[in-house]
Amino acid sequence: MQRIGVFVCHCGTNIAGTVDVKAVAEALQYEPGVVISKEYQYMCSQAGQDLIKEAIKENNLTGIVVCSCSPRMHEATFRKTAAAAGLNPYMVEIANIREQCSWVHKDIPTGTEKAIILGKAAVAKVNLNAPLTPGESPVTKRALVIGGGIAGIQTALDIADAGFPVDIVETKPTIGGKMAQLDKTFPTLDCAACILTPKMVDVAQNDKVRIFSYSEVTDVSGFVGNFEVTIKRRARYVKEDICTGCGLCTEKCPQKKVPNEFNLGMDNRRAIYIPFAQAVPKVATIDPDYCTMLKSGKCGVCSKVCTVGAIDYQAKDEYLTEKYGAIVVATGFNPISMEKFDEFAYSQSKDVITSLELERLMNAAGPTGGTLLRPSDGEHPHTIVFVQCVGSRCASCAEKGKEYCSKICCMYTAKHAMLIRDKYPDTDVYVFYIDVRTPGKNFDEFYRRAVEEYGVHYIKGMVGKVSPEGNKLKVRASDLIDGKQLHIDADLVVLAAAIEPDKSARPLATMLTASMDTNDFFTEAHPKLRPVESPTAGVFLSGACQGPKDIPETVSQAGAAASKVIGLLCKDKLTGNPCVAHSDEWMCNGCSTCEKVCPYGAITYQDKEFRMPDRTVKVRRVASVNEAVCQGCGACTVACMSGAMNLKGFTNQQIMAEVDAICK
């Protein structure tokens, strides 16, 4: 039998105004198990907490019920109070008589009656509470970073700096990600390569970091501190450890007509290639879709020219399995497809391009060597129209655009406009915008410079239609400030395409049992307070996989994710949430139903020997819950027919006792 103390809080007049707290305390003192029932002005105050602590000690209480505000507010407080008085913190139950009673009911009789019932339910529950102790599990001191863009690189560097080994898995042949494709960066106009490539080199040279490029994660099992990850290393047909990256093969390869994805298909590369000069690892990769040797067995030029014998046509995909304590997702973003925006004629004209394509066109290492030329005829464009928010903030059709703001477009467009006006003062640059969003350090100043110093025409209004006519692009747009419709004959139209999470994110989320929002961005554990953690313990988020971000934000989030990982890897053992499922092995019949519903894979089955009542020994298949993985949702408890599976802290018996108390 429990010895329960009931503590009713007035919360000033918040509760006492609508609930007769004295009557509540009085009514509850006769409930089974209750030995003391008190009320006080503010239970959460130091004095209130002291009152509880004293009562626990004086009356040898085994459990307490606090009738107060929502447990979401002060459950943790009162658990600490109880613990300080030597009571197991899970012997505390809260009756929510503020948010769910005094604040929503008007008169005192009603409020009091309901408060008493809620109190009785809490008492009924505490009567069945059992002290709970969180479980412990060891931590594998190695981290995995999925994605080798700036987010992944920064996270890996920071983790490695703290002394923990870390692996980067990148699907592309090189790390670097989107940032490697950029020309300059706002608002300082640093050259992207100049600030990124040193980091790439750092990461390559750091002996704590292993880079698995041209690889992908194919399976994840385990749980926080103890993940087991299978990584598929795709065959690149070049021995990574031997290739010197001299590039001779990429010059001699006879297959020259392979669209160069690094330049977004605006020029061609060879079938054996190094994506760009500063690639890390700087080794060649054979594209099996185009290599004639791999496709038809005829050629072998690269093998002949390779002086170190790095070419291996027989290479196969390899799988390796590694253990990690933490996983960081840094899968990044892509611009959405512009195919469906007919009004902007993206599919009709080569001269309608996306901003990322413009980055390549302006990059010294790009297809035009850094000279801005029209893709259609290689002429110098004189009139350039930028269209903002293409597919962003788009509620109309989900299959076309995205409802959210892509966040980075305002700033990079200002950057583009400014760079163009700087380099080619003879061009007219129009930017059509809905709003210009510049919340960042030196951002608005940057945008104003584009307008004021560089003479970019910023027009509030939207482009309605782009129609190719001859070698011009007829742009029809509104100018909302001047109240007129503009007709511009443009040479080049640049669309600020919305960005979306990388396609690899969703299957990865499934493997990680990490949750995603409807846009396939990873969900944070808390949008404000835990922005770099996924709700799945041990999985962290870095960069644009969590939501649109610019480089400074990405880097700071990458650092934050790294510090969370370091915090985790520093621990030798993890303590879990004690409100987890528990299988009564004697009751379990081994049917595997619970295993199927567990979203965390926390339930496994094993054959165990049991000494039966008739003294025989029987081997039975029974479920066991990995308490470190279980998050305590309770899906298994309902799936279990025999009631063998129960949830600590929310047992069937406790919930039914609450039901009974409420329905008295």
Partner: protein
């Protein structure tokens, strides 16, 4: 409409992450709903065993409502999807047994939907009040 004096007893199971927080928000915003609603906190709507629902009816509840995160928003990724299937089948069965379908309900209420929580409860209470006392799933022994 006829004004009914009947005060029904409503048991509401709310998931800790969304609906319970939604109920708290309704409280924060002082959005009134009848005191007939008594909330039981569960970690996830998928913790609600059909047994609990029947138990509530046995003990005299007139209506039972289960509130959880919106599909897709479950704190545990998939809990409310299981709730949805389980309750769809259970409610259909109760209806098949001739038990008034209005006495059971599932609503998705997010932590931000305090107003929806209050509106849902107001609506549910008045619906159940109109039906009157639960007679088809009652246990006579539990009557006062």
């Amino acid at each position: 409409m006829q004004v009914t004096e009947y005060k029904p007893l409503i048991v509401a199971f709310c998931c800790n992450w969304c609906s319970y927080a939604g109920a708290d928000l309704a409280g924060n915003n002082r959005l009134a709903y009848p005191a007939d609603v008594k909330i039981i906190r569960v970690p996830c709507s998928c913790r609600v065993n059909p047994t609990f629902i029947l138990r509530a009816f046995q003990r005299g509840a007139d209506g039972v409502i289960i509130c959880g995160c919106h599909p897709g928003d479950c704190h545990y990724t998939s809990g409310n999807y299981y709730t949805r299937r389980r309750m769809a089948l259970l409610f259909s069965m109760l209806d098949y047994l001739g038990i008034e379908r209005e006495r059971t309900r599932v609503e998705w209420v997010s932590a931000a939907e305090g107003a929806k929580f209050a509106a849902t409860m107001n609506d549910f209470v008045s619906t159940v009040a109109a039906l009157g006392e639960n007679k088809r799933l009652e246990d006579l022994r539990c009557k006062k």
